[in-house]
């Protein structure tokens, strides 16, 4: 068996008396889209937050390429090559697309202008933003100098995905990327997810939308009551069975 690129074992996270994660495992294999589904309160969010550095688990271990890592801030996870597209998108509306793509890791001009005057390399960042958007086939975004608040929901999502794809060197995590979108925009984002995978980046996709999950996922991780209940193959398990396992109405096939 191949080594998982990202692996979690026995993660526990308690909030007071509430146990959000009760010893949860997760394995992400190279080059796959792993969907994570689960009922409300199953611990999906806590699991993802632990992997992206947004929360620190009380127990358990996270392994990246087989070696243990510990993230205390989102920045740590990012520096390790794990990019997350948060449900809230984490974009700054009044800044333009290029500025958002490079937010928190701006490029500086070469030479004295950059080192002494701390000047940003605007042209360089615009050009790179243009390249990233083109690479993902995001044609509706004409101008990387456009403010993000003038974009539609789907286009904003595309900016967030482009940012993750541009900087994620190991793993991209997407939390409910189609939740707020219409049919056509969802379609476009699903295509983006497939493209990210086809570029060789494994993706963890958290979603409530079963048709979307079954359409793009290579494997489906079913989370229930703070644990991993099962990992199923979308080609051999039906949508209704997956929901039944998720809600506890059915035991997973062994």
């Amino acid at each position: 068996m191949t080594t998982p690129i990202l692996q979690a074992t026995g993660l526990v996270k308690r909030y007071g008396k509430v146990t959000a994660l009760a010893g949860s495992d997760l394995e992400l294999l190279p080059g796959e889209i792993l969907a994570v589904i689960g009922d409300n309160g199953a611990g999906k969010s806590s699991l993802i937050k632990a992997l992206s550095g947004a929360v620190v688990p009380d127990e358990g271990e996270v392994l990246l390429d087989g070696s243990p890592v510990s993230f205390s801030t989102p920045l740590d996870a990012r520096n390790a090559g794990i990019e997350t597209v948060h449900q809230s998108l984490a974009v700054s509306p009044s800044l333009d697309i290029a500025a958002n793509l490079f937010l928190g890791r701006e490029l500086r001009r070469k030479g004295v202008l950059g080192s002494v005057f701390r000047m940003l390399d605007r042209a360089g960042m615009r050009e790179e933003a243009r390249r990233q958007l083109d690479a993902l086939g995001i044609m509706t975004i004409q101008n990387p100098g456009q403010a993000v608040e003038t974009l539609s929901g789907g286009q904003r999502q595309a900016v967030a995905v482009a940012r993750a794809a541009a900087f994620g060197s190991r793993v991209v995590i997407m939390d409910e990327p189609t939740a707020a979108l219409g049919v056509r925009e969802s379609r476009a984002v699903l295509d983006l997810i497939l493209q990210v995978r086809d570029r060789g980046l494994p993706v963890i996709l958290i979603s409530h939308n079963m048709p979307h999950v079954f359409e793009v996922a290579d494997r489906i991780h079913i989370q229930r009551l703070g644990r991993r209940k099962a990992v199923v193959d979308p080609k051999s398990v039906s949508m209704s069975d997956a929901v039944a396992i998720m809600t506890g109405a059915m035991e997973p096939p062994s």
């Binding site: 990012r78 984490a90 700054s92 940003l120 044609m139 509706t140």
Partner: protein
Amino acid sequence: MTAVVEQRDRSLLTRVQHVLHAQATIGPAVVLLTSVIVFALLSERFLTPGNISLILQQVAVVGTLAVGQTIVILTAGIDLSCGAIMVLTSIVMAKVASETGLPGLPALLLGFLVGTVCGLLNGMLVTRLKLPPFIVTLGTLNVFFALNLWYSGSATIRGSDMPSLLLWTGQTFTVGGTRITYGSILLVVLVAAMAFVLKNTAWGRHVYSTGDDLEASRLSGIRTARVLLSVYATAGLIYAVAAWTLIGRIASASPQAGQTDNLDSITAVVIGGTSLFGGRGAVVGSLIGALIVGVFRNGLALAGVDVLWQTMAVGVLIIVAVSLDQWIRKVKA
């Protein structure tokens, strides 16, 4: 995402909205230009060198405060304590120099240090105790003002007792018949430097994004608490520069000076097109905003309009500016 964007016909109003959205400073610049033309037509004394010189002097102190106020407001904060920091700092500079005979430069630097520390205190309260900036600076406004009364003993320090460096900002040079104070030049240099930093550095961008969406900035890896702390501290330093300009302007250091300058600086920032909700605006706009208020008050006075109507005009301007900002924010693609 492969669909081509349709080119919709835009009404003139929508186009104006888009232009203002892209360049928030255009609105205030147009207002300033128009008011200068109107007042010049109303009174022939308006555009005389002496009168221009007077307006620039009147604007220098509030304009300098507004530079600091702008960066605080860009982070979706507000600083009610700016005037109190300025007055406290001016008293410290003047009193230490006049009583201990400390030379001008160290006295000035000591003032800069005091201003920065005051700003840092505001920043700590905002980031550590996570209190709203309005409440923090309402509190520190009173604290700093009380410290100012205590340290000064409620007494004014005369300019003749100070080293000349502290009064330098009030000295003038003449360009084409117009006497310009060094304080006004200091303001222009400060605005240019801050505009450069906000536009061209990562720090500037982080100031905007922190004010725009704090949580999104944090998730993007920006150390938002550090950004806020640096903004309040820098603002404090700028208020200390305003203190220097204030001493030059009134040729003394008075514990009762600048009582309403905190609100006047907010007025300048808002009229200058910077949004009170953060993340949008420019420091050049604040300079223009300060000039608009100066020109309005001066122009209406020359036209023989009573002070109370001048105040009302400024009030109307504020409301118009904020309504305009709300409208611009609703811009659609």
